[in-house]
Each structure stands twice: as C-alpha cells, then as structure tokens.
C-alpha cells in the first residue's frame, strides 16, 4: 500500500470526498451513534513518534466496556503502536514518545502520579507469538500475582492459578501437568496460557496483538470462542490482520491507515456500510 492507492482506488462517481488525507481525518473520529456500553478507554488526539518518525497522527478512539474492539488496517499502519500506548508498553522502547491523552475509567494513564506497574496490572497484554516463560505452567500463571503481592500463602495462589486457567479454557488440559514447562505446550495452548497469565492479575482491559497469527485454524477458533466468553468480564482490544476474524469476534472495529484512524464504529457498519472509501477498499481486499 502506497500513495498509489488514492489514484487507483475506485472512487464512486457520486462521491468526491477522497481527495486528500486532511479531509479524511476530519471526518473520521466523530462517532455519532450512542453505544449502550460505557466508555472504558478513551484516547484523545494521540500522536506517537519513533525518534523522528511519526507513527500515529491524532488518533482519538473510544473503547466501550465489555466489548471486543478490533483494530484493523494494513501492516505498518500503527495498530500495534496504538495498542501499546494503552498499557504504556511503548515506555520500554527508549526512542518512542507518545503525546495526547489516554484515560481508563476517566483516569489519565500518562499522569506522572500513575505507577506504570499498577497500570499494567489493570491492562493485560497478549502478544503475537505465544511467549510463555521457560518455567512450569503453574509458575507462569503465578508470576503476576506474586509480583503484585496479590495472594497470601500457597492456597491463595493455587486458587488463583486454577481459576485463571479455567477462565482461559486450559484447566482441563493441564490440570495434571502443572509442573511441566510452559514451553512444552502446543502453540494454541501456549497462547491460552499467556491469556491465563494475563487474567491472573485481574485486569480490566486485555490487549491482544494479532494473538492468532501464529496459530492453526483450530487453535484460532478456540481463542476466538474464548474472547467471546472473556468479554463478559473484561474489555478487549484486539489487533488483527484478518478481516474475517474482526467480523467474527468484535462488536466495534477501528480502521487504521498510515498512522491515521480512518474510521471506527460498530463492526456491522464498518463491514457493510463504511463511510470512507479507503475502508471500503481495504475490507473488500483491494489493498493491504
């Protein structure tokens, strides 16, 4: 995807809106329809830079509670960068700088008074490639609660490990082999272990960055089911490059392009009746 998109993109004759970038930005961020779910995460005018290179341009997005919000867009458009703003993982990249406001439950997460350790306990993250620690399954799940001092004594931790694995749909498969290494599991199981590990610190929000891209279709289906169950208790933001996945699992979808948030709204709307031609081109597979 390059500038050529604008030239080649089929512009409907009765629509002359897609002439340039600036116009597109003005139309993108306003959401008119009222969501039945309260806003959990609110991003307002977020810019992100890697050294001199700007990766996000004035992104504003509301993420509703107990919904799955999918971030879609061609690769390199800034989806991961935006996701990593929400738990401040970008702080771990020395050259990365983020400006703008992000609030969770109306609390500014970039406020100096906020401890990033606490924030990351509230906002869990699951990565593209399953990354269990080379420890036992049990220790993988117990890691977070131990760090945050969330459990007193072994019985507490045992309970937490069991309930987290149960919520991640992994308990029945591993309950007899909790002492085995997390890396000995299959890819799909490893990813569910990573979800259990995130759930164990009792977060409000779970961020998932292409969680299924390293998995086979069956393992993918398993994780997608799980996401649907998890959204009863958590707010989920998922980056995916699969349009079908976004359509299957999410209630809300946001389309990113070249660092701009082009359009966001209810998933059916985005997929059946997008406002922006770039969105339309992307979901009909014309680029990306």
């Amino acid at each position: 995807m390059t500038e050529a998109i604008y030239v080649e993109g089929t512009v409907r004759p009765d629509e002359e809106s897609v002439t340039g970038m600036s116009e597109a930005i003005e139309t993108d961020t306003t959401e008119t329809e009222t969501a039945p779910f309260p806003t959990k995460v609110k991003a307002n005018n977020v810019d992100a830079f890697y050294a001199e290179k700007q990766a996000l341009f004035g992104v504003s997005l509301d993420v509703p509670e107990n919904q799955v919000t999918a971030l879609i867009g061609p690769s390199g458009c800034g989806k991961s960068t935006f996701l990593r703003c929400i738990n401040r993982m970008n702080d771990t990249i020395p050259i990365c700088r983020v400006t703008g406001d992000i609030t969770i439950d109306e609390q500014d997460i970039y406020d100096p008074a906020i401890d990033v350790v606490q924030l990351r306990a509230r906002v869990g993250m699951v990565f593209q490639k399953p990354n269990p620690f080379p420890k036992s399954i049990y220790e993988n799940v117990a890691y977070g609660p131990r760090i945050h001092g969330m459990a007193q004594g072994k019985a507490d931790i045992d309970d937490l490990v069991e309930s987290s694995l149960q919520r991640a749909g992994l308990w029945n498969e591993v309950k007899d082999r909790l002492g085995e290494s997390g890396t000995s599991l299959s890819g799909g199981q490893q990813q569910r272990l990573c979800i259990a590990r995130a759930i164990a610190v009792n977060p409000d929000v779970i961020l998932m960055d292409e969680p299924c891209s390293a998995l086979d279709p069956i393992a993918t289906a398993r994780i997608e089911e799980l996401m649907d169950e998890l959204r009863q208790n958590y707010t989920i933001v998922i980056v995916t490059h699969s349009m079908q996945q976004a359509a299957r699992v999410s209630q809300r979808t946001a389309f990113f392009h070249l660092g701009y948030l082009v359009e966001s709204g209810a998933t059916e709307m985005i997929f059946t009746n997008p406002e922006d031609t770039r969105t339309q081109d992307y979901i009909t597979g014309r680029f990306g």
Binding site: M89, V116, V117, F133, G144, I147, R197
Partner: protein, 460 residues
C-alpha cells in the same frame, strides 16, 4: 633466505598461471562465458593448482627431509673419526659442525676434521638447494603446461578444483586432530612410565609432595614423595578464590551490559572488559607478585595476621580479575540471546526491570551462564604464569588463603626446569600431573559445551 625467494617466485608463477588460465578459458569461447562448463575463475584456479601445488608440496617435503639427510651424509663422511664416540658426543660434534657451517660462533676452536665436515655440510646444502630448485622449476612449468593444455570449454574445472580444496580443508583439520592425539599419547606414555616407579594410589591420594630425589646414589637428599593431594588442593584453593572474585563481578557486569547499558555504553564497556583478557598473563603475574602480594602482607601485619608474601589469596585474586571477561562476555551473549518477547511478557504483567531480570532473564539464561562459569574454571585451573610468580612452591595442604600453596601447573614447571635426568621419577611426575590436569579441564570443557549447547537449542 634463498628458500624464501624460491617460494615467492613459485607463488608469483601460480598467480600468473591463474590469470593466464582464466584468460585462456575466456578466449576459448570468445568471451561467451555461458559456453563454458565452469566459470573462468575456476579454470584459472585449475591451472594455478596444477602449477603451484605439486611444486610447493615437493619443496615442503624437501625442506623437512633435507637437514636430516645432509647430517647423515656428513657423519658418514667422517665415520672413521667418530667410530669410538658415544651418542651424546656425536650430537655435540654435529652441533659444532652445524654452527661452523652456518657461521655461528663455535664453543671450541674447530679441529681440522670438524672444519672439513663443515665444508662438506655447506657443499651438500648448496647441492640440495639446487636440486630442489630444479625439481620445483620442472614441476611448475610441467604443471603449467599440463593445466593450460587441459583447458577447453567442456573442462569440468569447478568440480575438480572443489575436490582439491575439500582435500586441503580436510588435511588442515586432520593436522589439528593429530596434534592433539599426539600430545595425549605422549602424556599417557610418560605417565605410564611414571606409574611404573610410583604407585598410582600413592600419587592420587598421598598427602606429602616432595619430589626431590637424590641425584646420585650416595647423596643425602629428599627420598621423593609423590602424594599429589596438596598440589591438587592448592589448585582448588586458588581456583575457588578466583571464581569468588570473577563470578559475581563478571555476572553483574554482564547484566549491566545486557540489560541496563545504552548501546553506546555497551559498545565501550564490552571491549574494555575484554582487554582484561588480552593482557599477557605474565603481566598479571608480576602485578600479583610485586604489588598485591606485598600489599596483603603489609595489611595483614598491621592487623596482626601473618600473611605469606606469596599467598594463595593474592594469586587467586589477580587470577579472578583476569577471568572476569570470560564470565562477563559469555554471560552477556547468553543474556542477550534471551528473546525480547520474554522481557515484553514480563513487563506487560507489570514486572519491573529488576524483577524481570531476576525472575525471567537469569533463569532463562542459567544454562549458558553455568557453561560460561565452567569454561572460566577450566581456564583458572590451567592458568600457569600468575601462580608461578605469585603462589609459591611450598606444597602446603591448607585451606588458609593467607598461606603459600602450590598448584599443578607450578609443579609441572618446576619439575621440568630442574636438571634431573629425563627418566627420573621427578621429571616423569610432571607428565602425570599434566595428564590429570588435561583430563580435568577436558571434562570441564565437555560439560560446559554441552550445557551451553543445550541452552542454545531452547530458543530459535
């Protein structure tokens, strides 16, 4: 000198052969490389190998064999004069002849016989050189002619060149292996002779080490006690002290470099640390003997401790400093090899950097760190110069680091620089000690490499 010129000329001819072969291959297809079976450079290499290789092999063999042959011929020329001499006298005579022939100063005014022999020697050498040059010239030009004649578009130059190169590589590796085997065999052979004189049980478990034996039967001297335990204990003590210094400092330096330092700092600190490994050990040795040893002695005296001026502590400490880069550099590589995704996973759960290092990074790189430490231990055990200069010679069986101890390597050095006959138990003991040392470091290295390799398999 002449030989060097000859070899340079041969190499020059070989280069010429390469160029010429290449050009001939190109002209044979009028520049259309696609018509050649192999690329022109392979044709060049083909001719060059024909031209240079046989001649260089002959020159090398000639140089190896010539001296021996010439000496034999010289000696047989004066066989009358040396008929009554012992082996030792003959070899002295021969070295006189050699010295005279090469123009070095001789120990005595040469006798007429020696002078004649020397002249014979010079004569034979000159003849040998001329023959060698002749052979080389014939082989080179013959090879050049043959190689060039073989060149045609269908010549399968590449497979043939590659086969020869493969043989050369094989020979190189075989030389390294054969050398090792040779060393092991000679160690074993001499050790067996030693164990013929001294009971192996006594050697391995005896508590007294006093290798002085009487030079002559009527002499009053040490009776010779070859219980090596004090020597092993000394090595162990110094190695432990060295590791106590090197492991924590090296590991912490590695953690700093891998996890905390900015790329610029790391690119400065890492080479700076590695310089420590490049300092000649003899420099560490006199640093330990002349600076650290007296320092400890003085410090000990001022608080009423008696510290030997050649203490295990001084030697171990300095050795530890020398070994720091072995631990730090390898550990740093291993820690760096821990995938970033594990760090991300830990940070995303709200772990701080130090929690991540202690609970994720170090456990994940433990195998590699253990491997690094084992390699450092084997380096410490085999280290010689520092202990020769700073640890002393007295074979005390002690765990007190303030006393002087001796090590396996120090004993080997002192046993071999003595003026005993070569087949006395004293000299042979050095081989037995060497064998033990070799087996221990070999075992450590094998274990360490295993451990490191196992770690490597875990992520990739």
């Amino acid at each position: 000198m002449n030989t060097i010129i000859l070899i340079i000329v041969l190499l020059g001819l070989t280069t010429f052969a390469y160029r010429y072969g290449r050009r001939k291959a190109l002209t044979s297809v009028e520049g259309r490389v696609a018509n050649l079976h192999s690329l022109p450079s392979y044709h060049g290499a083909y001719v060059a190998l024909w031209c240079g290789l046989p001649a260089l092999i002959v020159v090398a063999l000639w140089l190896i064999l010539q001296t021996d042959l010439v000496e034999r011929m010289v000696l047989s020329g004066i066989s009358d004069g040396i008929s009554g001499m012992t082996k030792g006298q003959i070899s002295l005579l021969l070295s006189d002849i050699r010295n005279l022939a090469t123009g070095d100063i001789t120990s005595r005014t040469p006798s007429p016989m020696v002078q004649a022999a020397a002249a014979h020697y010079v004569e034979l050498q000159r003849l040998g050189f001329m023959l060698m040059t002749g052979a080389a010239v014939i082989l080179t030009s013959g090879g050049l002619y043959f190689g060039l004649k073989a060149i045609q578009p269908t010549l399968r130059a590449r497979p043939q060149v590659e086969r020869i190169v493969r043989w050369l590589l094989l020979i190189a590796s075989v030389i390294a292996i054969l050398t090792t085997i040779g060393i092991i065999l000679s160690l074993m052979f001499e050790s067996i002779r030693f164990f013929g004189q001294v009971n192996p049980i006594e050697f391995l478990f005896g508590l007294t080490w006093s290798p002085q034996t009487a030079l002559r039967a009527d002499q009053v001297g040490g009776s010779g006690a070859f219980g090596a335990v004090p020597v092993f204990a000394g090595t162990l003590l110094i190695t432990v002290i060295a590791m106590i210094v090197a492991v924590p400092i090296g590991l912490m330096a590695a953690i700093y470099m891998a996890e905390y330092a900015s790329p610029t700092t790391r690119s400065l600190v890492k080479p700076a640390l590695e310089i420590l490994a490049g300092i000649p050990t003899v420099v560490y040795g006199f640093f330990a003997a002349l600076t650290i040893g007296p320092l400890f002695r003085g410090a000990g005296e001022s608080i009423g401790l008696s510290v030997a001026s050649e203490s295990a502590l001084a030697a171990g400490l300095v050795m530890g400093v020398m070994i720091i880069p072995f631990v730090s550099s390898l550990s740093d590589d291993v820690i760096n090899a821990v995938p970033q995704s594990l760090r991300d996973g830990s940070y995303a759960l709200g772990a701080t950097q130090s929690e991540t290092i202690r609970q994720v990074i170090l456990p994940a790189s433990l195998h590699g760190i253990v491997g690094a430490i084992l390699l450092a231990v084997s380096r410490a055990i085999g280290e010689t110069m520092i202990v020769v200069m700073a640890a002393g010679l007295s074979a005390n069986l002690t765990a007190n680091p303030l006393e002087a101890v001796t090590t396996v390597t120090v004993q080997i050095v002192t046993l071999l620089v003595g003026d005993q006959e070569f087949d006395s138990a004293k000299t042979l003991a050095a081989f037995a000690l060497g064998l033990v040392l070799f087996l221990v470091t070999l075992a450590l290295n094998v274990v360490a490499l295993r451990v490191v390799r196992k770690y490597r398999e875990e992520y990739d």
